[in-house]
Point group: D2
Chain length 391, copies 4
Amino acid sequence: MTIEGRADAARRRLRLGQVGGGQGAFIGTVHRIASRIDDRFELVAGCFSSTPDRAKASAADLGVASDRAYGSFAEMAKAEAARDDGIDAVSIVTPNHVHFEAAKAFLEAGIDVICDKPMTTTVADAEALVDLVGRTGRVFVLTHNYTGYPLVRQMRAMVEAGEVGPVRVVQAEYAQDWLTTALEGTGQKQAAWRTDPKQSGPAGATGDIATHAMNLAAFVTGLTLEGVLADLTTFVPGRPLDDNGNILLRFEGGARGMLWASQVAPGNENTLRLRVYGEKGGLEWAQENPNELHYTPFGEPRRLLTRGGNGTGEAAGRVTRLPPGHPEGYLEGFANVYSDAAELIAARIEGREPDPGARLAPTVQDGLEGVRFIAAAIESSKQGGTWVRPA
Amino acid sequence: MTIEGRADAARRRLRLGQVGGGQGAFIGTVHRIASRIDDRFELVAGCFSSTPDRAKASAADLGVASDRAYGSFAEMAKAEAARDDGIDAVSIVTPNHVHFEAAKAFLEAGIDVICDKPMTTTVADAEALVDLVGRTGRVFVLTHNYTGYPLVRQMRAMVEAGEVGPVRVVQAEYAQDWLTTALEGTGQKQAAWRTDPKQSGPAGATGDIATHAMNLAAFVTGLTLEGVLADLTTFVPGRPLDDNGNILLRFEGGARGMLWASQVAPGNENTLRLRVYGEKGGLEWAQENPNELHYTPFGEPRRLLTRGGNGTGEAAGRVTRLPPGHPEGYLEGFANVYSDAAELIAARIEGREPDPGARLAPTVQDGLEGVRFIAAAIESSKQGGTWVRPA
Amino acid sequence: MTIEGRADAARRRLRLGQVGGGQGAFIGTVHRIASRIDDRFELVAGCFSSTPDRAKASAADLGVASDRAYGSFAEMAKAEAARDDGIDAVSIVTPNHVHFEAAKAFLEAGIDVICDKPMTTTVADAEALVDLVGRTGRVFVLTHNYTGYPLVRQMRAMVEAGEVGPVRVVQAEYAQDWLTTALEGTGQKQAAWRTDPKQSGPAGATGDIATHAMNLAAFVTGLTLEGVLADLTTFVPGRPLDDNGNILLRFEGGARGMLWASQVAPGNENTLRLRVYGEKGGLEWAQENPNELHYTPFGEPRRLLTRGGNGTGEAAGRVTRLPPGHPEGYLEGFANVYSDAAELIAARIEGREPDPGARLAPTVQDGLEGVRFIAAAIESSKQGGTWVRPA
Amino acid sequence: MTIEGRADAARRRLRLGQVGGGQGAFIGTVHRIASRIDDRFELVAGCFSSTPDRAKASAADLGVASDRAYGSFAEMAKAEAARDDGIDAVSIVTPNHVHFEAAKAFLEAGIDVICDKPMTTTVADAEALVDLVGRTGRVFVLTHNYTGYPLVRQMRAMVEAGEVGPVRVVQAEYAQDWLTTALEGTGQKQAAWRTDPKQSGPAGATGDIATHAMNLAAFVTGLTLEGVLADLTTFVPGRPLDDNGNILLRFEGGARGMLWASQVAPGNENTLRLRVYGEKGGLEWAQENPNELHYTPFGEPRRLLTRGGNGTGEAAGRVTRLPPGHPEGYLEGFANVYSDAAELIAARIEGREPDPGARLAPTVQDGLEGVRFIAAAIESSKQGGTWVRPA
């Protein structure tokens, strides 16, 4: 039982700052654990909350020195850029509406950015970020964390190698049930901001989870989206954003797809699932048991590929820490995106080429495509269901 | 471990004839086994093939007297209607294009009909059959056999009883892989007629399997289809009919759905799956392991309901033959439709009310709705994806 | 989607009688359905109950002529043997303690026997039956029905062909929960006789289900049992027979095994499971979803073999009725044993060699081995857990 | 979606040293990641290899200062005990034969110990460690890491609360396939030491994995082992230690169990599975998908309890980091043992009572029981299979 793939890093840890993720937040903790797993980052600064007291208290909790606990991201970007031991990178984990301004501030201060999704709330902002990343030459990594799962990397490599032949059909879905009732009315913080257009942007389930499923489908298949036809619905009375989306997809080259995203499907916790069918074979994977991938070469028995197991290749092995049968999960997949980001950032700092595998980390361009997909879905649905090309 | 539900029938066996299903056919054998399982039918006549020699040979194989092996269904309907010991019912198991004329002949001869799906190849023919059944007062049962599975009956009863609350989201799919390549070009008989518009009608996968998934969704939810938006595709070059359909659904009352039907999805044998989500709970069932039903009351753990097991009710128990843990399958589900048909036919003959449970057998009206769904899907797809109301 | 394997039988139906299986019985109905599925038998006589009124009523229910509804098996054997149209075979489906005398009566009358398991309640009786079958030359088939599942036949063929290499480890289990409480005290008929030594013989769970698991293991691996070490327990107070058995196995040639049989394991309905590991690969199969077989060639990904699907061979195909993805279940597996019996009986009557595949039906010798296994397990357990050679 | 349970630690990180786990080792990396996940430890010293060059190189890789990279554990214990900033605790991750002497050295130096399992290679050594821990008052945590899985904690809490009633039957198994062939002959380091009695001690699979399964069973049920009856086998020619163990268990109070451990079962990666059946219900859990627990109250449908999901309680919530549906895995479970250790160590240092939940971390007493179990199994098997009381 040898470990392939990631091990403890020999190199120095990168200095990391964080915007958002203070007490009571969910995803901030996830980002921090993910940054620690491979020991490539050390959290040294933060603007953990828009509420100053909570920001200070969070910093103390997290072992961040009080002089590096900032009250605003603008102040943080400026101060950290000025320090000799300033942060190498910032992790932006706020509600969606803050992503753009925060990312802009750090990029302009010359600091690499790791940002949660969806990247921005408007296509214009997303395009501006693409432009800014190009101009500054900074690293920008978007935490479409599901792309970090080893068997997702495996699927991508298999499609690329032609093992399923040209792709014909893509079935993607991300179903949850936590918003089946008006949880936002109870003061639950996660529900509150995610269903609030001011913080979440114009999309509900579509921005929160459909965008993950869409990104996953594109990451694995390499296909370019040509058209989106959406029927978005709000089932919970009084909720201003969609909580269920039924979406048809068309890809360049003729492949067709369906994408279902729902936050009102009782019995589904985080059922993110991708199925890809080509002329020569099929692949099926589900996030809730991410250590298993079903691969059927047409005309042969279905094969179970396990993370780290027989029949998996280098792309997965590179991001695998454990022998097969010892499950890795969500945090390890998230950590793979962080460690890829670390490699890209370290390479930039050191003026060298990164490990090519690290380039699989989601980019600002992926972020733009995600925002375009959201906008196209909303437009299609508003028109009663017409084909809209994301642009 | 008591057996509930069906047991050996005390009453006399009904005399059954069959149209189609001779040597080399698939579904004819299935119908015959299904008719035997509960011992309610005896096969005594048939027009097993449009080829006279094959028809005679098949009759001999099947133990049908040679004077009741007919060369045409018209002859058979006439001759059997004239006999004192003529058939009580006919089972029509031909390719689709024959269904209408054959059903018409027997109904007009006063003989009850059990017919395979899709009922007809045009909406006009389907409407004519509805009319004819009304006028003749004969029993007409359509073998949407999946409705015969005990846990499908269980789902329907649970939705009806409000156990999942008002339905919001329906996800139906039926995926296969056997037509991934141009099997019809090899002379394979099943593939040949199913991909031939002259025998199959205007729809490929949509008529063959989407219609099963649609019927199942309607049977379980009781919802009425309001709109269909379809993106039908033919992936295998040279095939004249669709082999993949991505379909959005809207139901009266606001529920939304998706339906995927594919015959080009490698790794899928007969993946018929239904998921229904309401305000209070969710149901998930898949045909390939039909003895398990997943039921999640919102906010509680997922429960596994097994056929015959704890937590299932009378609707399922009525059509269950074995204790839980002893799997029943496709043939038993099919047999339930046959045995319901037997009850309806016997009741008609005996001039009594049938067991109310038998009324769940799919009707000529279900057949019409199926054909309307197919027509709406084709129209929607031809228009590039617009909402079409089935009518 | 072609059907391989069994289809409607061209030959005449065999005339079948039944001993036991009247109103209120479970397994009698199962045998009757199994006998009908492939249309090889017609039920024409019976001694359905030891209670005369119930015997008559059951005969009427089952469409058996009243003059062939007998009050005792002895009378039935004699009368049927004397008729020109007497039964070709008898199916014995009584509680265990009747098997021996009934089988003896029919064999001595020259009538072929299909008998439920365990074959007898003593080793001496089992040996006597082996002897009698040898002397009379009649067909004797024991309904170890699980050997009739297509994928069980597939496993046996794979082991025989060396696909897993020499077998090292066998893990067999059969767990139920229906006797977790003292169900026999409630008057439930199945529970009552199965926990009563007078009707069931000296073994409880060991005779009822461990013997199935043991037979399955031997059928699949072809190994000969060399030693049994058992720890049998009765958990429900007042129950006179074992309801849980933990058993170690040793086979000739060095393979080792474990067998667990329990009727007090909540959550288990009929969890019959077999796992076989050899030098080159492993096989795993479970009765509750019998259409799937997991096969792992060492060093390669696990493969899912489905009934009728890619990678399965002739031994399974011969007993398969449906295309893959359309599940067959317990009754179809049971029917395979019946149809194999029909072939053996027809061949004997016609004085020809049977289809070699039919010889897989469990024999009187298998019955003897089962009874020896039970006796060895009881002896081992009484001695506090010592190795006992079944003999 | 709130996170319950562990979050970033507010308190200072503990200073950790490590013995073993240098380049090429597997489990050392696992321990380091586990120690980092909740940010409770910082690795500052080590004796990473018995080869000095490899020890130094490993230290450099791991960011450990060269003056704290030691050539022997004795030297390390002495030097670290003498430093003001010496380690708070040591993690011992060597092959088994080193555990005892290393643990002894650190305990005697007043340093808390986290040690891999099996604790020692003899019962006498294990008893000596129990004594030493008692005398020194230091914390000793044994990394029976599977007890750290949230749903294992959940099972324990449920059994303790009587939700399955008095336990009757325990089925434990741990199957692997990596030693199906003589991997140790290829120079594979993990295989080499694990099959070498000088490094592994007197037990092969029994010490490596059966002991995990046994510990898990005892942890969950709270039962005390009364007797062991083992049939240990070596299937791979030339291997000096057992690679398959078939074991019967008896517990005080009358419960019975079986335990199977194998390293030659093709298709099994790390199939650690526990099933517990009581008078009122059953529990089933498998390590390969540790986020699901099957719970059946007798007479009700089976329920799926998910990590973090509905129906789970505080014991699991305390060690849960993510919302349900986002899988946690092996490293997170391992980290729970580390974080419990951190709490116990911090409490000792700070002279306070620890969080009661942390007391679930496996102790030196658990280590002793594990070594006694191993010794009893070996003795039983040598005697040809007799009941041996572990002592």
